[in-house]
Symmetry: C2
């Protein structure tokens, strides 16, 4: 099943699809040459929004969960990609220690951990799950709704190595985004491969840095395709050090939201788009603690600001100070029956290994669907993104739409690769 697009089967998105298909060999060659120079993130997932007139990534996750939502038929692709990744990074590996999020008794999340364990086991590694949660003091087995079990073992830290009882891994795979900072237990592990590296965590990462890198790769892909890069790029602004308890309505926020809305309005006019421009306001780093807000007009700021003040007044000064990303809002025009849908693409090493749609019956087309606690239905991509079918009418072929999604998701992955290079503390920075 593939959600349908509510937009007509003409217009920019279909022209984009056609150009992507026509340029397939050039696109693949371009990626191949990029991967000669740059290292892909070990794994990643990218949230996309298809507005019917543009298709853009809106968030890139370097510690993806949700692996259990992929179709079982796609599992061999993930296994093969995991084999390729392991072979490149640590061919001599025998043992892999998987470190999940702390405090997680969420069985959806644990099902994803179980799926990752399965993928790396099938790729030929002994896998154990080591918890860095101080609350996990002894081996703890959780039973999942499907009857599978996940066993969390407390990690054991030696002087230079991390492991669990009777298990000394050469590779440690983090599936936690380190939102609370890098714990000391993960530092100075110079004898083991730590994947992804610590600077992929939210202590270092900034969404604005990511989307700056993305803008660069989108420009180059736009040139290759002969299209306006705006068709695949969400514009953004940022405001540093906003004190949420004093509200949102700072001069920076006011000015930049207004400026970004004006830029979007000009683009909409250029393309004859009748929709109302909007921006989304989110934290520049970390999880979406204060939510993701939709703003259509700076006039809405005072009310939003007041709400934010109430929400955050009990937080410490550090907790309520945030760098803020103001991102062009990208509508989603995909629907499954009446519910709004947005695609999420999963990658392992340089390969797209699957994806699913987030489907949400109670959200608007201009709202974030990945809200904490929101109930959404994952709809696994019906086919691989590896199966483009040239010659089929644009907009009419699910494999072609998936291929286009895979291309844009890989652009975001490439941007993450640039981002990680630029923020790597172990290399000299030239810029």
């Amino acid at each position: 099943m593939v959600p349908h697009l509510v937009t007509a089967l003409t217009g920019p998105i279909n022209e984009l699809e056609q150009r992507v298909l026509d340029s397939m060999p050039a696109i693949e060659r371009w990626f191949r040459l990029e991967w000669m120079e740059h290292t892909p993130p070990f794994y990643s997932s990218v949230d996309l929004r298809n507005a019917g007139f543009k298709l853009a990534p809106v968030d890139t996750n370097l510690y993806p969960a949700g692996w259990h939502n992929l179709r079982p038929e796609m599992l061999p692709l993930a296994v093969q990609a995991a084999m390729a990744a392991i072979e490149k990074i640590c061919p001599e590996a025998r043992n892999l220690l998987l470190i999940p999020e702390n405090h997680s008794s969420n069985t959806f999340y644990l099902s994803s951990v179980a799926q990752l364990r399965r993928i790396f086991h099938m790729a030929g590694l002994n896998v154990r799950i080591g918890s860095i949660d101080p609350a996990i003091k002894k081996t703890t087995t959780m039973i999942l709704p499907d009857g599978q079990s996940v066993t969390l073992e407390p990690v054991l830290r030696g002087k230079r190595r991390l492991g669990v009882k009777d298990f000394d891994p050469c590779t440690i795979l983090l599936n936690t985004d380190l939102r609370a900072g890098v714990p000391g237990i993960l530092e100075d592990l110079h004898e083991q491969y730590l994947l992804p590296p610590l600077h992929a965590g939210w202590t270092t990462r900034r969404r604005s840095k990511h989307f700056k890198c993305y803008e660069e790769v989108a420009k180059r892909m736009g040139k290759l395709l002969g299209v306006d890069p705006w068709l695949i790029n969400p514009m953004f602004e940022k405001c540093a050090g906003v004190q949420l308890a004093q509200g949102f309505d700072t001069e920076c926020m006011h000015t930049r939201i207004d400026a970004l809305l004006a830029k979007i309005r000009r683009k909409y006019k250029e393309y004859g788009i009748k929709e109302k421009p909007f921006v989304v306001v989110k934290a520049d780093n970390g999880p979406h603690d204060f939510g993701i807000l939709t703003v259509h007009d700076v006039k809405e700021l005072p009310a939003l600001s007041e709400k934010m003040q109430r929400q955050t007044r009990n937080l410490s000064a550090a907790e309520q100070t945030h760098d803020i990303l103001i991102q062009e809002g990208v509508l989603t025009q995909e629907r499954m029956n009446d519910a709004v849908a947005e695609p999420v693409v999963y990658m392992m090493d340089r390969y797209v290994v699957g994806g699913f749609y987030r489907i949400h019956a109670h959200r608007g087309t201009d709202e974030n669907l990945n809200t904490p606690g929101a109930s959404y239905v994952p709809l696994a991509f019906e086919q691989s993104t590896h199966l483009p079918q040239p010659g089929i009418k644009p907009g009419a072929s699910a494999p072609n739409r998936f291929y286009m999604y895979g291309v844009v998701a890989r652009l975001a992955m490439l941007a993450a690769s640039y981002e990680l290079e630029a923020t790597d503390p172990d290399v000299e920075v030239y810029d």
Copy 2:
């Protein structure tokens, strides 16, 4: 659908399956380390025979046809593997020229060519099909039964490069086994990647060399698994320069067949196997021009010899002189209803990308099923070989059986890699 084994669910093959599963991480690591030192053939297919008490490769093809027999669901695996192969060998490639067998209007073969074209196109290359058949003087389009078309273009040879009209490929993929010798048109193409290299053709290859290399890797894998390597290795002998028009019944043939039958008899006795030992007699190189003969006793030789003399008396001295491989016959104990089945595993680069069963209603368990012109039904492997499921009773799990088939097929691929290194005319040989 998976053929069932007529053997009971106990005995050597299930013990082997159990050991293969238990050793999965060690096996995968072993392959990873091997691929650090050795280059896998670009693509390959391996014919296996599962006797219920042993599982062995009986032929390894370095120019596989039959790609159209794989399940469509497996196509993304082949595409991903093709991407990996291209990236490693020639990342800057744009154009690939595929060279099929000459004289082929066989629509089964052309469907396989169309499938290869699709795989490499989806992997991001411009693909054209160039014929080196002198009979193809102009562009010729063949329509396949499913409505697809295959366009063969006559190759154009420049001083240093090969192409077709308005198409200069940097990579040339051979899908012809060069049984008639290496044509001059393929020589001295030092500016282009020629895959597989010319010495993978039957002018250079010898089955006895391949199975000698296989014996070596089987010994090492046997040690890793803690099993007798015979359980995965077909023993063999060879006789050089047999003049078929003078018959088969030479002293060499007589002695070696008798010796090999005796060795098999001892092995059968050791394992309490009640079957009748047999050997198969085939050419040491090239296609099976004189067929594949089954011999249970040297007493059969005079009659077979007479038949061979009649068949070959009109051939030239060169044509009727053959090096002969005498291979331990491996029964197949797999059945689909009443028909005999044998698995064929397909690989691209180091990855198993699928497979199928040859199913033949009119052949015995000790006969070759890949007979020219024989009608067999291909039954695509139901699942990927990437999905082993530990903990399931040996012999009861199709994914586990496929995983074991994938391991043995990869051993044969590794043997082919050793073989190609040893026969590479461009490197110094140290042995």
